[in-house]
Chain length 351, copies 4
């Protein structure tokens, strides 16, 4: 019963088999092998346009190098106030972008409210030398709160970024889960909605180490090879990342895995909604749930071997958490077993 995080899962067998096959060959290093090139082209098909792709080792690297590539002196990137880039990356995006700053923008359910974003950017009109200049807007899809921006919401954010003359970045650490939740395509969820740069995460969804930065307009990525190398993110045997992506994309494995994770989350949501001992703290659409659970049930689950995180109660919690309750986060993954879900539901079920 592993619900602590999707990065507690291992790697999918198909990924491993592909790695195994790759391991017996010799090939050129530092991203110059035929396999590297082939997989970069695969991204073109998936995004229905020519994109520039750069493999990196971590999601934090993807976000940070994306920010580095658009850094401006005194630059400011706008993100949700609870976004991973501002809360959980130890300042890496600030560090890699030549000390550009991150400005938090509030909004319910982990999503920036467009009017708040507009107001935040509006505080930095051209020539605000003492304050700085906007350089990026970044959204997380799916969000840290388990929600998903729908296409119209991305559109609205995108328009504000365009008006401000800055690019739009999407942190897609859980890109596949969001895609399944919206039942849409990579193109529709990104560049057709004005997303310019994407952190495309595969590690949480079945790989063990495969992240990519995708530039929808390759011309904007001309310095990225140098940024990546200088940032110590150009792996010598990068083709082993390419190999993971190869298996990840083959036969739409990645969509299948994300769909499974989401389905397991739905099963949890439905089961817990029906329980007297639990309620959903807020509605989510991806593979994360936030649940207000009876403390005794939570303890029973932990005693039975379930792993999950207690979660700090946000200030805008719709309904208060009672004394005998606690807020927890549950995350499902490609590897979550239906049996584990059902065991957990049984333990946390009707009292």
């Amino acid at each position: 019963m592993f619900f602590a995080s999707d990065n507690w899962a291992g790697a999918h067998p198909a990924i491993n088999e592909r790695l195994m096959k790759e391991s017996t060959r010799f090939a050129a290093a530092y991203g110059t092998s035929e396999l590297d090139r082939a997989i970069e082209k695969r991204f073109n098909e998936i995004f229905e346009r020519e994109v520039a792709v750069f493999f990196v080792g971590t999601g934090t690297a993807a976000n940070s190098l994306a920010m580095a590539s658009v850094a401006r002196p005194g630059g400011i990137a706008f993100c949700h106030s609870e976004a991973h880039v501002i809360e959980d990356e130890c300042g890496a995006p600030v560090y890699f972008s030549n000390a550009s700053r991150l400005m938090p923008v509030a909004g319910p359910n982990g999503k920036m409210l467009p009017k708040n974003l507009e107001a935040a950017i509006g505080r930095f009109p051209p020539g605000s030398i003492h304050q700085g200049q906007p350089m990026l807007v970044t959204v997380t899809q799916a969000t840290e709160q388990g929600t998903v921006y729908d296409l119209d919401e991305i559109d609205a954010i995108s328009k504000i970024a365009k008006n401000a003359g800055v690019p739009l970045h999407m942190d897609g650490a859980r890109f596949g889960n969001a895609l399944i939740a919206l039942d849409t395509t990579p193109a529709e969820m990104t560049w057709k909605r004005g997303v310019d740069i994407l952190s495309f995460g595969a590690t949480k969804n079945g790989c063990w180490c495969a992240e990519a930065i995708v530039y929808m307009d390759p011309k904007t990525a001309e310095d990225l090879p140098f940024i990546r190398k200088r940032s110590a993110q150009l792996f010598s045997k990068t083709r082993f990342m390419a190999a993971q992506f190869d298996a990840y994309f083959a036969n739409d494995l990645w969509l299948e895995l994300a769909a499974h994770a989401n389905a397991m989350a739905t099963r949890l949501r439905e089961g817990l909604s029906a329980s007297n001992s639990a309620r959903l703290a807020w509605q989510t659409q991806s593979n994360e749930l936030f649940v207000v659970l009876n403390k005794d049930k939570a303890k029973a689950a932990k005693d039975a071997g379930a792993s999950f995180y207690d979660w700090p109660v946000p200030h805008d919690m719709p309904e208060p958490v009672g004394d005998n309750e606690q807020l927890i986060r549950l995350v499902t993954s490609f590897a979550t077993l239906e049996n584990d879900v059902d065991d957990f539901l049984r333990i946390c079920g009707t009292s």
Copy 2:
């Protein structure tokens, strides 16, 4: 006939099997799993003392974070003038160490000459506010030129560093190859000779992605967890690196692999020394050779599918390279086949 670089090799089957086994399990992320802890302890045994170990994704990351951890304002790190850190890492060590500088120190065969190092450091006495202050000495073992510092040479460098009050770092991208060449132990080649920080490379020697920074005195590494996270080098599924190290160290696999690479290099050296069409540009001790080869033979080898790099002729080349000759670099690895060596020798043999 792959002699271009040891990072063109794939991964050893034992590494892959261990990865496969790891992939089916759930475990805590970000370096907190039991396996991570167990492997960190394994390093204690290998180095015969308690060390602090941090897994990172690339050799450049290991070198750069080591430099970051000793950075001082106006700081200067001293390295050989052809060291990887100054020549081949796109400025990453400078970048990660808050714009500390690298100062090249000359010396034959890829090794800093102690008197040159002493003179170089001597230009920065305490209080050289306009010039800067020494912060690190770094040696590469084995060197970029295929040579190996013997223990006395490390001692001599170490004494100069200690006199200057700065730590000594070793770039061990080919640590195993050097160890085999010297027939010594990790402890003897490092802290017993005054090495304080080690970039311990395993990628070139049979892993696909496994590098570690080793601090001989854990107290000096207290900020490293933050440095690593901020540098985007804390992998979520870091236990897959731990797993590679697990297999790498089991039954001394790593020493066996390095010994094989070195043996293949020796076989090449001996074969080419006996040829009329080739001569060793200079003596090497590790898995790299630099060979002056008849141009026709070089072409024949390439035509037969051999991969290797032409190498720029250094200014201090002992004997000149003739018009019908060229300088090439050959690198062997854990995966080099004896047959390939013999084929290559046959092509480049006596004319």
Copy 3:
């Protein structure tokens, strides 16, 4: 009628005479002259202990280099949410401190509320690798809102910083004005209350370019000479800064000038309080006032040549600003003329 800012004032005649005298001499450069040394010692007397003093060119430089000197990887400095360091320095403190971050702490009247500071720091317990580590608390004295932390309030902030194991910095761009407002001594307002590092500003109070960073414990400033040089803040003819401080301190000129500025502010406060057309937006103690003024009066004042800034209405404004009113900021200085104050009051007086 110049009330836009105290940095619109020129320089006091005594400062200029001292500069004139200095200009005819030759002396050693880069802070090594006898005058430099003598003035550094003068700071010891003023602060009643041995301090380390570094002259720099701007208040932003003083704040930024102070932050640089305590920077830690993933480091976080805590400041009031409207502090100059976070709002008005284009990210310089972040930039100079190796991409450390500034964390805003709310509180009324421009002062951090101790419980808010405690909560903010509490979010970063030891080992918060993904979030970062506290490195500094910084207060502004006098604040951007014209208020002044009283000694007990500094004590309270200081205790929280000490508990967190981080130093306390004071941005004293208007140090003299605060000192006069509290009727206390430099020692009492700083190290006796736990302040470790001070940005000591003299530019706003009668010099044209004289700022200093003061370390209450010289041992903590050992790297500062390198930080200052690397930050391009070591002036060649730094003795011209020393000369300004020489005149500034002579016969307590600086206290006299600050007292004058404060007195002019008091005169404005009293006059405007008695007016039907104006009211104080909130109480201030230094040389800044925030006034809600009848729009017609404001226009009349501008037409008569008065300079002052319209000010954005803060969200926690005690009483709303009416449609025919506006919020303005008035700043007095060492050079403010009593006549100008009276002229301004006449224009803005009872309708």
Copy 4:
């Protein structure tokens, strides 16, 4: 007898009078006053084209911000191996340019040899991801060795920079002295020879703190206001720098002062050339001399109160320095007295 450095001189009376006059006025801060604007325009006249001008506090700041403005990831700036930027600024240009690197280029007499520059740049062809990419060429005019690039030499350097697609920067800490030495105009010595960015120094030549960065093409300077503010180089009372430039340019005072300094150097050169106890180490054209002096004479001069620096003997010294001789540097300035020159010559004269 002050010959230690031109920054040991004070400030010219005309500069001081202008400062005095400025000090009595109120005016807008942070570079927005009418005087600031007027002086910026004065630079247009002096350079015979519309330029963008930014006042900063130190020569190191001017050089560093110039480098920051052209920084590229993995970027490399090429300079003479003994240039101030690489030798004497504690790494500031590296620090401010986001860890770009400085690559030393050798050449006699403090001047880069064009063929050496060409070879140095040639090591970084497009796509040298592991090595980095050229971003700037920078020359010092007059050089650290007291020599001056003639116009043809600047042309030759400039062509190489243009071919490499990188801008050319000139460190003009002693711009006036070079101008007088070449008997040419600012336009001829800069943009007409391909110089794109100039560090225009006035501090050494009669001001006490007045440096400017001049962009020959204002469009290339659009980010400079943010760079300057973020670098803590936007002075609040920047008009006091403008005032210094105002007096500096009035009636060509600056040319007069530089001519005086150069004439004093010529007088020293001529006198010492005629002495049996001294000889010029190499020919210089600006206000610096390097002299091989009899040790007894050197001691006698010091005893008589002369200040000058002993200088390390360069490796390419034309004639060796004898056991009873030493190499010294003499620098004249706008404030050097003819009497002092003659006294010094008398002491160091024919034995």
